[in-house]
Structures are given as structure tokens and as C-alpha cells.
């Protein structure tokens, strides 16, 4: 049986970093902090991380529509440029006079934006510390390691500590801090509909993985005498202790699954049917299950929920115009259905969904697609979001312009830390707990980007 000891917090640091102003958690810190600072106001909140794997080319998601802005965009993008007439106009609130449009396949998100439920955060990316183009080109200033590698950047988006090897994700650390709000709930605060991930791994809270169909139960046990013998023997096997850690982990996974399945299946079965219709796509099926788990929150005794969903295929090195169009249709319809579902459940203002992706993509094309970039634009969606606005700083869309590393890969002006901190703060983390969740936040100027007002 795994019992935490001091020794279990040995971090997998390959070497001592020169300085670590950021701090990763220990359970002792958490318990001290949680007891002192968690408000007990009976509210409910959910965060939904929608990870677009491959690196979404947001350069074609939100495009300048004014004459000169569009002209520069089109000149540089070449074959990848979206025709100006196809762009879906956006109405920017708050006196922002800029003229932008969405990719033509984002009609539902256009509506949500113009209704004020969807916001855009511009040019977000992994950063060790703020960096200018001049500093980047001169070398010497710290940048996240392996900037254009899918695996590394995906992990760094999820951990939000690019300059350290971290086993935990910021969502997991967030769950650690707020875990007590869920009291005696038997289901993990963090649920993934998309398999294992780093985002939801905490020091104490680990993600519970379900499928789009919910949890799955063992089949072939019909209550007959022979089946019962087999079932009992199986349970006995699962109760054996194992010296081999792989055996023990496998056994624990099966045991957890069986226990949670009974609870989850009951909780989901007792829900009234939902009116909102979700499209039949992989993404929407995931979001549908998220909506149902939100509906079951009271049955599951959960005041806080963190969900992880994902879609792949965004690595549009080739055939981007067709490939990305299909993906964006799925994204737009899925998020729209999800928002409607939360409205139907009366929790629209309590649920915030946000996108994340490995990186953006190069501004010039490689022929029919684009290559790995860096900073990109992300969506935030929910009733609490001050939608209809662009947050952060939109990059200058020029190769070798002030925001470019050199081949149209934008240097982020907003860090993943700031983006995540805004979400975490809304979710209920106090300012004193924030560095526990986001150790590097002190290096950046805007821990609250303001998209919740």
C-alpha cells in the first residue's frame, strides 16, 4: 500500500537548477495553506481544458478584416490565406475599434463571441520569462527548452513550468489546493475523458479516466453460480498485495475502476435527460459526457470539477485549408452544444471551457500547410467570461516584424502562466496560494488578464 513519506517527494530533477524562484508543492504546504485560505461559500465551479493536439494554426482562426491588415496578412500567408469575403465579422465590445473576423467554419463561435460568452486571448505561449525579439535573436536569454517539439511543448502547456521537469500539471496542483471543497466525494476532482494527461496530475489528486460513454463495467458476469465464483476469485486476486510496483499499479487501476463504475453509473443513470443535442463527433461526445458529469455533480458530492478533453489532428503541415476547416467545424459545433448544455443546466456562469495547444504555426506557408510556431490565440468560453473581446496583445503579423523569431513564429506576449492564473483565480485559488499552483507566475506582469472582469 502506498503511504506518502518524505521520501516520496523526491523530485525528478536531473540537476539542481541554478535558482528556483518557483516552488512546487509538498503536501505539508498544501494542508497548511488549504486550511487557512479556502472560502466555504457553497459555490460550484468547473474548468474544462480542451487540448488541441498538434499545434492549432490560430493565424487562420482570427484574421484582420480591415483593408491594410488583411492585405499584409494575405501577402505573407500566400496559399494559406482565407479569402477576405469568407471571414465571419466579429463585433468587439468595450470600444475596441479593431476589425477582425473568424474562419468561415466557426459560425457558432462567432455567435457566442458576439453574444459576449466567448473571449479570445491573443498570442499566448510557453515562456520561462518575458522575452523580446531582440533578446531572442541575441541568444542568451532563457527560452523554454525544445520550443518546436510537440511532446515537450504539450507537456509544458500542461505543467506551466517549462524550465523544470515537473510530474504535476497546473490543473492537478489546482485540484490539490481545492480538494477539500469536495469533502468526502469518492470521485476524483479531476476527470479526463481523453485518457492519461499531465495537466490533471497533482501531488495528491490524480485524474480519473472515463470514456465518452462514461465508465465501463466488467461484462460476462450474469449472476449465475459459476460467474459468481469467477467474480469472487477475481476480486480476491485484486486484493492481493504485490511487491512488483507495476503489478500493484495495474491492480489498483482495476479496483478503482470497479468501485467508481458503480457509483458513476448510478449517478449518471439518475439524471433527467438533456434537451441539448450534441453532434456525433469525437470532440462532442467528450463534451457531452462532461456535461452529464456536471449535471451529476450533486449526486457525486462535487463542488469543484476539472475536466480534460482533447482532439488531435491540428498538426497541419500539409493540406491545411481542408484539414483545419474540418477540425474547426467540429470545434465550433462542439463548444456551441456544450455552452447550450451548461445553460440548460443553469450553470453557464459556473463553467468555463478553454482551449490549449502545443503551439501556433508559422505564418508563411510550406506549400499546403504550415510548420511549428510558438505563440497562438486561445478561446475562453462561459457565462462568467467577459466575451466579445480580445485580451492580451495581438501580434504584428509580419515576418521579421517585432513579434517574430524569424520565420513567422510569434514570440508570446502572454505566458501560459498568466492565462492559467486567470483561470485558476476564477476557480477559487487565493492570491497566496497562486504560486503553489503556478510557481513561475511571479515572473510575469499580468496574473489576471481580466477575461472574467
Amino acid at each position: 500500500m502506498y503511504a506518502p513519506t518524505r521520501r516520496t517527494f523526491i523530485r525528478q530533477a536531473a540537476c539542481a537548477a541554478l535558482t528556483t524562484s518557483g516552488l512546487l508543492n509538498t503536501i505539508f504546504d498544501l494542508r497548511r495553506l488549504s486550511a487557512a485560505t479556502i472560502p466555504n461559500t457553497g459555490d460550484y465551479k468547473a474548468l474544462v481544458c480542451l487540448f488541441l493536439f498538434g499545434g492549432n494554426d490560430a493565424n487562420n482562426v482570427i484574421v484582420p478584416r480591415d483593408a491594410s491588415g488583411y492585405a499584409s496578412y494575405a501577402a505573407a500567408r500566400g496559399a494559406l490565406a482565407i479569402p477576405q469575403g469568407s471571414l465571419l465579422p466579429l463585433t468587439l465590445q468595450g470600444g475596441d475599434g479593431r476589425d477582425f473576423g473568424f474562419h468561415p467554419n466557426l459560425a457558432e463561435l462567432q455567435a457566442l463571441f458576439n453574444q459576449g460568452h466567448l473571449g479570445i486571448v491573443s498570442n499566448v505561449g510557453t515562456l520561462v520569462a518575458p522575452i523580446t525579439r531582440a533578446q531572442y535573436l541575441a541568444g542568451g536569454a532563457a527560452v523554454p527548452p525544445q520550443l518546436f517539439s510537440h511532446a515537450d511543448q504539450s507537456v509544458q502547456w500542461q505543467t506551466s513550468v517549462p524550465d523544470q521537469i515537473s510530474r504535476t500539471g497546473w490543473g492537478g496542483r489546482l485540484a490539490d489546493v481545492l480538494e477539500s471543497l469536495n469533502g468526502e466525494s469518492q470521485i476524483s476532482l479531476s476527470i479526463s475523458i481523453a485518457g492519461t494527461n499531465t495537466f490533471e496530475v497533482g501531488n495528491t489528486v490524480l485524474p480519473y479516466i472515463v470514456s465518452s460513454n462514461g465508465s465501463i463495467g466488467l461484462s460476462g458476469f450474469d449472476g449465475s453460480a459459476n460467474a459468481n465464483v469467477r467474480l469472487q476469485a477475481f476480486r480476491d486476486l485484486l486484493a492481493l498485495p504485490h511487491n512488483n510496483l507495476f503489478e500493484q499499479a495495474y491492480s489498483d487501476t482495476v479496483s478503482r475502476s470497479i468501485a467508481a463504475n458503480e457509483l458513476l453509473t448510478t449517478a449518471l443513470a439518475n439524471l433527467p435527460p438533456m434537451q441539448t443535442v450534441f453532434p456525433d463527433t469525437a470532440l462532442s461526445r467528450q463534451l457531452n459526457m462532461v456535461a452529464r458529469l456536471i449535471a451529476a455533480r450533486t449526486n457525486l458530492s462535487m463542488r469543484r470539477q476539472i475536466f480534460f478533453c482533447s482532439v488531435g489532428g491540428y498538426d497541419t503541415h500539409g493540406d491545411q485549408l481542408t484539414g483545419q476547416a474540418n477540425l474547426l467545424t467540429e470545434l465550433s459545433q462542439g463548444l456551441n452544444a456544450f455552452y447550450s448544455a451548461t445553460a440548460e443546466l443553469g450553470v453557464a456562469q459556473d463553467v468555463t471551457a478553454f482551449t490549449a495547444s502545443d503551439f501556433g504555426r508559422t505564418f508563411p506557408t510550406n506549400g499546403t500547410g504550415s510548420d511549428h510556431g510558438w505563440g497562438s490565440h486561445q478561446f475562453v468560453l462561459g457565462g462568467a467570461v467577459q466575451g466579445g473581446r480580445l485580451f492580451g496583445t495581438f501580434p504584428t503579423l509580419a515576418v521579421n516584424g517585432p513579434d517574430d523569431t524569424g520565420q513567422g513564429r510569434w514570440i508570446p506576449t502572454t505566458s501560459v502562466d498568466e492565462f492559467s492564473a486567470t483561470l485558476a483565480t476564477w476557480f477559487g485559488v487565493s492570491p497566496s496560494d497562486l504560486p503553489t499552483v503556478l510557481p513561475n507566475i511571479g515572473r510575469f506582469a499580468n496574473p489576471n488578464l481580466g477575461f472574467f472582469g
Binding site: 469467477r230 486476486l237 508563411p364 510550406n366
Partner: protein, 930 residues
């Protein structure tokens, strides 16, 4: 840039080498120059000088070969200089120094005195390099080779040196070298002479000097230090440098030398002669940004400990020397740590790591206080002389399972040769041995194969498997008669061959290769491109026992891979530069298919620079250059000359259309410059050669192959031994995959090591659990095909269905919780979730109780043997233990199973058999292959 060199003395056929260390802003130490002169002969007796670039970043050097300008008689008339990288690939060459870089050489102040002298300027990434000097047209004569460091103030990349061989004779024909330390502060160096330890391709070097001696003289000739055997006087210091000779007869001297000139003399004891190698290394650490000093330790099992465990540790001594920050990691111990300490000489415990709380980032702070009668000054002196060690204790090894001494981090650490493992038992394999072997070497043991291996032995089985004809997936799908071919036929081929093909080992290795050189139906509808995926898979099947270099080329030119990673019809940049070559394949070629992201030692550990950080293998420039190499390639075709958009051809390697290929020069891995104007085939050949010869390929590839076949956590020794075979199969061939497979399966860690440790083995991949079930119980179908359906959904895995090019799981995944805390990798757990464990169990249940595959062609098990044994539950369970678990079933599990089977009515042998099989195949103990 002031080179200052002096040469004093001569030697017969030997080069001494040059070592230049960049002086830093803090002027800790000035440069050390050695140059030497020798007679350049022909063939192997040319002049070879070696040097190492350490640290991070690039270093700019000028290498010169002087002949005609030397003020002596008998000079080499026209020296030619070659610069080679670690793998032997030629980086640059020069015959006459004015021919290509005249301006730069003059600007550096290094213009040779004669136009026939050779010189070149190169910017080099960290690594080993050799400079070879020959005479044009095999002329001979005296020449001088030199290396100059042009980055005088650059603290991040430094030069060290290695030596090359020389023939030491007697009297004046011993090896004499001079060197000069410049700057204004002393430099700490180690000098050593290798003789007995000289090996070539794994065998002792013929004619080596068996007992060398070493003398160090001051500039005025006065003898300063001498040594015959390194343990005799400075053992602790030499050991702390991590560069201790591996043979006790070899001499070494550690010295801190003030600026000035010195000579060293290497001779044979008692006037013996032979070939020797002299080396000198810089032991200074460049200043750390905060004034601290970094010490590193490599943790390995010591003494009689039989463990696969390993680890690393670091201690950072504060600038004011009052405390250290301790950090360490470990992996693969036999059990949880029971205690951990820092010890001094004689084992005195100086620091109990359990006592303080770890810092929030996991490090520990040790504030120095007097301990056990020893003062703080003594403790610090021990630290600096390499006499402190860290020891991790476990229940199995209460005196310490792994430990290591701390030494100054210089960026010059090399992986130690592992202690040889115990010998394997002789004789033919037992039932258990055979079963364990077959779970690694096939898609599942059968009764027949267990008997075969038992009677023939492992080697005979391997030989037979290496010789067996490869089973072709493409031939299988073509024989199906279905037109057009779809993913269904590809799946049928894979399952049928995995389950029933006689070339089991080849098919199992091909599957492992498919998880390394990933191509899947997730992109470009490749599953429905007729024959595309089976044709690709056949490349892996054919290449499984061939050479890695050939395999690398074959996957690069395969059209399915081209489609998957965008090399197919990738075009050169357009004139305005608004369209650049696609980088996808170029990046994954290096990141996933050959060398990975960081420099590795031979045992798979990260090479660290002097600040303790890993060293990246390549940068964005190499990707841009490689992407340009990967342009112009399209489907094979009959049209001559080839056109860029012919009909799809999935069955033959791609061909190149010259007009679509980037014509300019391209900088690729290791800073290698591919000249402009070469045909694409030549560009590609140069690129693949450079990649193939990078020293990372062995440890990077072999580790993953071991992970797929044997264990998720190979010990450093296991990986070192297998990498050695990859680097040289014993006949001088690099990349011999058949030899590598044999080395993996026949190593002590696979055949002889214990199966009961906490981190032994690996979780069986879901598809292999299915093939194991179907093979063990002689599954069959009416048609003979195994047309499994729904496998990917139920198992979360299926061949050629990977969601991304990163395979279903990554080599470094550690399941959160106790596995990660123990420092263990567990790749297969990345797809093991609360959902998949149940869906897999349900799928296996269908295979046992119902059938798999379509209703019209059901795959069912033959349980005749098991039904016959069912009357005796213990016999049935024991039979399954041998057949499925290589006798590893615990007593507790056996009791539960026997008890359950007994409760099933005896007149229902089918149900008894199925119950027992279900319980075994879904048990945690079976889930882990060990």
C-alpha cells in the same frame, strides 16, 4: 587570439594533441596549448590529433597542419588536413590554406608560412573531433598539427583533448610532449597514459605497451612528478576526476600548474616498448553564475550487490562554503529506500538525508557543522578531493544498494564501464527459462515452442529464427483478392502473421520497430491507400535483422512514411521565401527515429555540461537544413525523367525530381555543411550517414528496443553492453540489428536476473496479451485468417493505429504515484486507464467464452488440453502457470485459482478451463511480463 605553442622533443610515430581551454571573463585559467610534431607516414600511420568540445553552445576553432613552413629538414611537402566528427564522418578538409577560408584565417592571425600548409576554420557543437594529417599522394615527412580556440572569452564551450596512439620505443624515441599554460591563474589537469587498456573493436590492441610510465617536467627540465601506476600516490584525486585509468598498471598525474611551459615523457617500464596513448584533460569547472561549485556523483551498485538500480546526485557548494544543496534521483532499486546518507572516508556518516525536510523543489540543504570529531574544513577538503559519497540503503541491501562518490563537475564525465554481470548458467533451458524467453522473443509461448527451446537451447532457436524466411504483409493482403485494399486487409494481415507466422522473432521485432519508426492510418487516410501500410510494414519486417543504416534509408524513402510526415512531394523554398520546405520529417528523423533530444552516454545516461545541464543534440538550424535535403521526392514511376505529380505508387521507394530539390548548401546535424549543387541522392546519403554515425543512435534506439522486448527500465550496464554491440558487432560493423537483437535477448539482465524486484519487467502491451492468449490456446478460424475486429477501441492499441508519431506511449512515461516515486519508467501505463483495463478484460473474455472476429469467420480457442486437465484443478492451474506465466505465479494466486476451479462443477470441464484462463489472463501478475 594568441596561440603560443612550443614543441619540445620528438617522437616516433605519435601525435600529441592540442588542448586549448578558453579563458573566461574571470580568468580562472588560461589556455593550455600542446602541439606536436611527428613523422607522417601512410595508411594508419598518419598524424591524428583529437580534441573534445565540452559545454554548451558552439566553439569556433582553427585547425592547422604545417609541413613546408617548419624550420626543420624532412618536412612533409604538402600536408592535407581532414576534420572528422565523433562518428568518423568528414566535416571539412583543406589542402592549401588559401583555397577557401583565406580571409578568416588571416583575420585570426593564424596564416601559415607556406601556401601548401593546410588550415581550416570550423564552428563545432559539443562532441569529439579528430584532425587527420596526410601527405598528398601518400608522401611522408615531418608535420605539425595544431588546434586553436577562437572563442577566447566564451565560457560556455571549452576544448579538452584526447590523445592518439603512438609507438613508444626506447632511449630518445619515447613519447615526449611539451605544453604551455598561458593566462594568469593556475590550471588543474590530469595526464595519463594508456597501454594495457587499449582495445580496438572490443579486442585488446596488438603490440600495446603493457606497463607505461609518466613523468612531468617543469620548463627547465626539472622533474616535478612521476608515476608508474595510478593508485600509488594520488588515487583519491584521480578517482574524483572520473578519469581514472581502467587498468592499474597505467599511470596518471593530477596537477595544478602555474602558467608556464612543461614537458611530459611517456616510456615503458624497464625499457619495454609498444603502442601507447597519452591523454590530457582539463579539470577546471568554468565559474557558475552564483559563485557555487558543482559536484556530481554517479550512483551504481557497489561490491557484491546484484541490482539493476542506478542514480545520479549533485551537490552544489555555496560560494561562501557554508552549505551544499543536495539533489538526487534513482531508479530501479529492489525495494523502497530504508535510509540514505552522505558518508566520508571510512564510512563515517556526515549527513543523514532523512533528517531534514526536503525543500519544496525536492532538494535538500546540508548546512555544514562539525560531525563525529571532524571539522567543517575537513569535510570540505574531503568534498574537494572526491572522498564524500552518497549511499542509498534498501531492505535487500542494508549496507547500501547504490552509491557514488562526488567529483567536480567538469563536463568531461564519461560513462563508466559497467561491472560485468554474473555468467549465465550453462546447459539447456528449464521450462521456466524457455517460457520467459518466448514471452520476449515471440508473440506468445506455445507448448510446442517451449519444448523446442528446452531441447535445442536459446542459441539454436535464435539461429533458426534469424534464418527463417520473412513473412510478407503485402503478399498477404494481395492474396486476399480484395480490391481496392482497405485497412481491414491490413489488420487481417497483421493479426494473422503475429499469431501464426513461423518467423515469430522477426515479426515481434518488426512490431517493436513499428512503434519506433511510427507510421499510422491516423493521417492521410493511409489505411485506405491500397497496400500503403503493408508495404511500409514489410520494410520493417525485412529490415529487422539487417543494418540500421539501411533501415533508416528505407523508411525515409518509403512513400507511406513520406505521406505520414510530409516528405512526399515536399518542395524547395520558393523564390520570395514565403513558402519554406516542410520540416515535419526532418524533425522527427532526429527527434524520434535516431538520436533524440539530448546527448547520451553509452549507458543511456544524459551527458551533462560542466554546469550539470543536458546538452541538446541539434537546433533549429539543423532542422531547416535537413528539411531542405528532404525536398523534391515523389512516387516512383516509369516516366523518365520523373515528374513531380505521377500516380500514387505505395510499393516502391520514392524518387527525386531535381528541379524541386533545394539546390543551395545546407547545414545539418553537428554543423555539417552539405555543399551546394549536389544531387538530392547525395544530399540524403550525407545526411543519413551523419545521423547514423552520431553516438546517440546506439543508446537511444537500443533502450527502446529493450523496452519493447524485455524491460521498461534496463540497467545502465545492460544498455551499455547492447550499445557496444550496436556500435560494433565484433566484426567492425556498426548498426547490425541481428547482433543487437541477440545481445538484448541473451544478456544476463534478460536471461539470468531475478524476477522478484519491485521494478522488474514491463506491463504487457494490450495487443500482445491478445496474441499470447490466441497462440497459447491454438486459436483457429474457418478461413485460417485472424480477422479481429474492434481491437483498437477495446484495447486502446493496434498495430499501425498510433494516434500520433509518438506511438501509443512514450519511453519516459512514469505512472504517477509509487512508480514515479521509485524512479521507474512505465511506458505501457500511458494507455492503461480505468477504462482500458476493463475494456481489455471484456475483449479477452470474448475471446475465451465466445469468439473474436466476424460471425462468418470466428476465431475460437482449442481448449482440449485444458479440458483434459480440468478434473485436477491443481494440474490445470500449474499447466497455465507454465504456459502463460513462465512459472512466476505466486502461491497466493495459485490458491485462489485452485479454489475457484474446484467450485466449478467437475462435470463442466469447459467452464473450469475457461474460468482458470480468464483469471490468469486478467490477473495483475500476468499483466506484467517479467
Amino acid at each position: 587570439m594568441r596561440p603560443l605553442f612550443q614543441y619540445a622533443g620528438r617522437s616516433a610515430v605519435a601525435a600529441i594533441f592540442l588542448a586549448l581551454c578558453a579563458s573566461t571573463a574571470h580568468a580562472i585559467s588560461g589556455a593550455v596549448n600542446i602541439s606536436t610534431r611527428m613523422v607522417v607516414e601512410t595508411g594508419d600511420n598518419v598524424l591524428i590529433g583529437g580534441f573534445i568540445v565540452y559545454g554548451t553552445g558552439q566553439k569556433t576553432v582553427v585547425v592547422r597542419a604545417l609541413g613546408p613552413s617548419l624550420p626543420v629538414t624532412g618536412t612533409l611537402n604538402d600536408p592535407v588536413l581532414e576534420l572528422h566528427d565523433a562518428g568518423g564522418a568528414l566535416i571539412a578538409t583543406n589542402d592549401n590554406w588559401r583555397s577557401s577560408q583565406q580571409d578568416e584565417i588571416i583575420a585570426a592571425g593564424l596564416a601559415p608560412g607556406d601556401d601548401r600548409d593546410a588550415a581550416l576554420l570550423a564552428t563545432l557543437a559539443p562532441g569529439n573531433y579528430t584532425a587527420v594529417v596526410r601527405g598528398v599522394n601518400d608522401a611522408t615527412g615531418v608535420a605539425l598539427v595544431e588546434v586553436y580556440d577562437l572563442d577566447g572569452e566564451n565560457p560556455t564551450a571549452r576544448l579538452g583533448n584526447i590523445a592518439t596512439r603512438g609507438h613508444i620505443l626506447t632511449d630518445n624515441d619515447v613519447m615526449i610532449g611539451g605544453f604551455f599554460i598561458r593566462g594568469d591563474v593556475p590550471k588543474r589537469v590530469i595526464l595519463r597514459v594508456r597501454g594495457p587498456s587499449l582495445h580496438l573493436n572490443g579486442a585488446p590492441f596488438a603490440g600495446r605497451l603493457m606497463d607505461p610510465t609518466l613523468e612531468l617536467h617543469a620548463g627547465d627540465g626539472a622533474l616535478m612528478m612521476e608515476n608508474d601506476s595510478w593508485r600509488s600516490s594520488q588515487q583519491a584525486e584521480i578517482h574524483a576526476s572520473t578519469l581514472a585509468p581502467t587498468d592499474d598498471r597505467e599511470p596518471a598525474i593530477v596537477a595544478t600548474l602555474a602558467p608556464g611551459s612543461y614537458t611530459f615523457v611517456a616510456r615503458g617500464l624497464n625499457n619495454t616498448t609498444g603502442i601507447a596513448l597519452i591523454e590530457m584533460y582539463d579539470l577546471d569547472q568554468p565559474p557558475q553564475a552564483d559563485g557555487s561549485t558543482l559536484f556530481l556523483a554517479l550512483l551504481r551498485p557497489q561490491g557484491g550487490v546484484n541490482s539493476q538500480g542506478s542514480g545520479t546526485a549533485s551537490m552544489r557548494l555555496s560560494a561562501d562554503e557554508t552549505q551544499v544543496i543536495l539533489s538526487f534521483q534513482f531508479s530501479n532499486l529492489t525495494g523502497p529506500i530504508t535510509s540514505m546518507h552522505i558518508h566520508g572516508p571510512g564510512g563515517v556518516i556526515l549527513f543523514d538525508i532523512d533528517e531534514p525536510m526536503p525543500q519544496p523543489d525536492g532538494t535538500y540543504i546540508w548546512v555544514f557543522t562539525p560531525v563525529g570529531g571532524f571539522t567543517v574544513a575537513e569535510i570540505i577538503a574531503w568534498l574537494r578531493s572526491g572522498q564524500l559519497y552518497i549511499n542509498l540503503h534498501t531492505a535487500a541491501y542494508p549496507l547500501g544498494e547504490i552509491s557514488g562518490f562526488f567529483h567536480l563537475s567538469t563536463g568531461a564525465e564519461i560513462a563508466p564501464e559497467p561491472t560485468p554481470p554474473p555468467p549465465l548458467p550453462s546447459g539447456t533451458p528449464t521450462l521456466t527459462d524457455a517460457g520467459r524467453f518466448l514471452s520476449q522473443a515471440t508473440f506468445g509461448a506455445t507448448e510446442a515452442l517451449i519444448a523446442t527451446v528446452q531441447s535445442q537451447g536459446f542459441d539454436a532457436f535464435l539461429n533458426q529464427q534469424f534464418a527463417a524466411a520473412p513473412s510478407s504483409h503485402l503478399a498477404f493482403v494481395d492474396a486476399s483478392g480484395v480490391d481496392p485494399l482497405t485497412m481491414t486487409q491490413t489488420r487481417d494481415a497483421w493479426w494473422t502473421l503475429a499469431i501464426s507466422a513461423p518467423d515469430q522473432l522477426r515479426q515481434r521485432v518488426a512490431f517493436a520497430l513499428s512503434e519506433f519508426f511510427v507510421v499510422s492510418n491516423s493521417t492521410g487516410d493511409l489505411g485506405n491507400r491500397p497496400g500503403a501500410l503493408p508495404a511500409y510494414y514489410d520494410v520493417l519486417v525485412r529490415g529487422a535483422f539487417g543494418n540500421f543504416r539501411q533501415l533508416l534509408e528505407d523508411i525515409t524513402l518509403n512513400p507511406a512514411m513520406g505521406r505520414y510526415l510530409d516528405m512526399l512531394r515536399n518542395e524547395r523554398a520558393n523564390a520570395s521565401g514565403t513558402r519554406l520546405p516542410n520540416e515535419n520529417f526532418a524533425r522527427e528523423l532526429m527527434q524520434l527515429f535516431s538520436i533524440g533530444l539530448y546527448n547520451l552516454n553509452l549507458d543511456g545516461s544524459l551527458t551533462l555540461d560542466s554546469s550539470g545541464f543536458p546538452i541538446a543534440t541539434y537546433g533549429q538550424e539543423a532542422i531547416l537544413g535537413t528539411a531542405a535535403v528532404c525536398t523534391g521526392w515523389t512516387y516512383a514511376q516509369t516516366t523518365v525523367p520523373p515528374i513531380f505529380n505521377p500516380p500514387a505508387n505505395w510499393r516502391e521507394p520514392m524518387v527525386n525530381v531535381a528541379s524541386r530539390h533545394s539546390p543551395g548548401s545546407k547545414t545539418i546535424l553537428n554543423g555539417v555543411l552539405i555543399p551546394a549543387g549536389q544531387p538530392a541522392e547525395e544530399d540524403l546519403r550525407n545526411t543519413l550517414d551523419t545521423v547514423f554515425n552520431h553516438p546517440n543512435v546506439g543508446p537511444f534506439f537500443c533502450r527502446q528496443l529493450i523496452q519493447r522486448l524485455v524491460t521498461s527500465n534496463p540497467s545502465p550496464g545492460y544498455l551499455y553492453r547492447v550499445t557496444a554491440v550496436f556500435n560494433d558487432n565484433g566484426q567492425g560493423v556498426r548498426g547490425d540489428l541481428q547482433a543487437v537483437v541477440r545481445a538484448i535477448l541473451m544478456d544476463y539482465d534478460a536471461r539470468g536476473s531475478a524476477r522478484t524486484g519491485q521494478g522488474v519487467g514491463h506491463l504487457r502491451e494490450p495487443v500482445i496479451r491478445v496474441t499470447t492468449l490466441l497462440r497459447a490456446f491454438r486459436a483457429s478460424s474457418p478461413s485460417g485468417k485472424f480477422s479481429l475486429r474492434g481491437a483498437n477501441t477495446a484495447l486502446g492499441q493496434e498495430a499501425m493505429h498510433s494516434p500520433t508519431v509518438f506511438n501509443f506511449f512514450t519511453p519516459d512515461y512514469s505512472a504517477p504515484g509509487p512508480i514515479a516515486a521509485a524512479g521507474l519508467k512505465s511506458p505501457e501505463f500511458e494507455i492503461t486507464t480505468e477504462t482500458t483495463v476493463i475494456t481489455i478484460a471484456n475483449y479477452l473474455r470474448s475471446g475465451i467464452y465466445v469468439y473474436l472476429g466476424p460471425g462468418a469467420d470466428r476465431v475460437t480457442l482449442n481448449l482440449a488440453t485444458e479440458q483434459a486437465l480440468a478434473a485436477n484443478p491443481a494440474q490445470l492451474v500449474d499447466h497455465l502457470n507454465v504456459l502463460l506465466m513462465a512459472s512466476s505465479m505466486s502461491t497466493e494466486m495459485r490458491n485462489i485459482l485452485i479454489n475457484a476451479v474446484t467450485q466449478i462443477p467437475a462435470n463442466n470441464p469447459t467452464e473450469r478451463a475457461r474460468t482458470a484462463i480468464y483469471l490468469v489472463i486478467n490477473s495483475p501478475e500476468f499483466a506484467v511480463d517479467k
